[in-house]
Amino acid sequence: MKLLTHEIGSLAKPPWLVKTNAGRPLDESDIEHAARWGEKVGVEGHEELVEKLQGGGADKDELGRWASRYALRLLESAGLEVVFDGEQQRSEMYAWAVDHSDGFAPRGTVRSFDNKYYSKSAVVSEPSLREPYHNDELAFLQSVANHDLKIPVTGAYTLAVWSYDEHYGPQTGRIGAGHGRSEELTARRRFANDLARNVIRPNIESLIDLGAKWIQIDEPGASTEADELDIFVESFNESVEGLDCFFSTHLCFSDYDLFFPAIEQMHGCKQFCVGFANYDTRELGTSGSDRPGYEVISKFRDLPYEPILGLGVLDIHTDFVEPPELVRDRILYAVDVFGDPERIHVCPDCGLRTRSWEVAYEKLRNMVEGTKQAEAALTTAGAAT
């Protein structure tokens, strides 16, 4: 009995990279961070980085690659089987994609929640891909990863819904006109599909040419508009249809009931990795009443094309470190609902970039340990029957 464990995407950037990117001087604690984590997670040659940091001679790109090595080893040493580098070399999942595309103009910073913000741009003309923007990253990671890789790519619909529209919809004559939703929907559909065709698909094709085996289409904005889910599905299909790769999509912090029945048409999606722990209790137990955050998973089970469920078992918005037993019970409940452990993978709810490396590491280690406990329990149960 084996349940695959994987990460979702982002991981906090180390302080020595953040400060260098911001043009701020490093202090002793930053160098100590590099030395300690290099030792802890087994980054080969990390002494070289420490020397560079002490000497002040490393540039941003070089430090970005070092951060990728650290993040890979952090995830690998935590025991995850499929890894990425926590997007160390990207600015941010939205900004990175937009900054490498034509047709957008920056419009400043907007709150995500509390003191978290993101840069938001406006589409000002039909978007197009300036150049494939994950190739250098993947090529480097392929050269240093010890475990299998999964590459996250921000999806077309999320890019569309997170952007202002200064191109597709009407820009004047709107006040008091009571513009119907149909007009907005038409504009969004054109925008999302143009992004899928002109930006996401060529980017994906390029990654496949480089040898990518698993591409995760990140769509945290997918359920922003309940009546646009068919646009999300259409743009996903437009992005991946006919391409030879294992495609998954990541959904988080949504009312997941909204996705049904729209995602019944996402036949190219082999796995949905979905955040549930944020909505669950911290009590142990494997019954439905013990696991309220996972109530909706039967709907994923019943999808006609039988995708795998990447089961989010770590709440990424809290420093609470889930005990292995809690992870185990969440998995056992999901396996029981699905009736097929082959259709369950184990992952955090979302990227862990808002947590410190200390907290992220402990959470992930416990996730792996909890997965092992679940595997053991399932093996024992299987033997008994």
């Binding site: 419009r107 400043g108 910073t109 907007v110 709150r111 995500s112 929640f113 509390d114 003191n115 913000y117 993101y118 938001k120 406006a122 819904v161 997170w162 202002y164 529209d165 200064e166 820009q171 004047t172 709107r174 006040i175 008091g176 006109a177 009571g178 513009h179 904005g221 359920s223 922003t224 508009e225 309940a226 912090f253 949504s254 944020n278 909505y279 918005h317």
Partner: protein, 317 residues
Amino acid sequence: MGQASPAENAEHFPRLKAFAPGIYPRSEALVQATRDLDRGRTTQEAVDEQAERDLAELVSVQQQAGLDLLADGMLRWQDLFRPLLEASDGLETGALTRFLDTNTFYRAPHATTATPKLARPLGDRDVAPLPGPRLVTLPSPFALAHGTGVQPVTIAEGVLKPAIEALEADLVVLSEPFLARDETSSPADLEEPLSKLTGGPKLALQLTFCDARESLEQGLADLPVDAIGIDFYLTHVSDVPKGFDKLLLAGVVDARSSTVEDSRELAAFADRLRTERDIEQIALVPNGDLQFVSEKIARQKLQQLGAAKTATVEAAA
């Protein structure tokens, strides 16, 4: 549409106003300061100093734009509910929840008792002192009760009434993002809760980011408040009853769009409200919190809001 003569404008536009309720965006400097605070790279004092600079700048922008009531922009509020939750017994922050159809999230109110009470009034950090006539924005009783299982009237009596009684404000705008989107509710659900809040400052109920047509058909204009706010990016002008006799907070600045409005278009729309709908008391406002655009864009939108009002009033004179 025919142009009104200056004399007609003078007769019909004596009370055109403009102001900006809701959460205003933080400057890039304050965004960075709060980020740094979260990461232990700066002090609370440094963040407070930047927040004061943001407030001073916001006040200056409103004054220069000629807005009639000043707002503090709720610069320290993490969302529409947070300071009230922190000041109340029996209410706390719940799950991170998407705010309507935006990419901004809030901590949904969670009730731990059936009868939450305000434990202390909102202080200067939450409602900043301002140099002139002012408005204060609070959640409506329906919005604050939304999802808690507590009745809006209980929230009104136990939390909002004492909060409002402790305020010095010329207008309290009760922000209501949920009512018009909730098919199981109607304005009648707000009648009793709002009646509990009368007797103090003037009250406005602003339906933000929504089509108010059904709510208007169901008697929104009859609720016991002095003003009603309508989003005119989603509501057709003809859905407002002719002769609407309260102050109309006309949401004419789209707080979710990066496109900066043209003051002439705003002024022309105010004229349409007067001529087509026979509405005498109008305040031009954003259709919701301006925090959904950057501070730079919000500032330009406020300037256009003020310019529209000034142009209309000057034309009337």
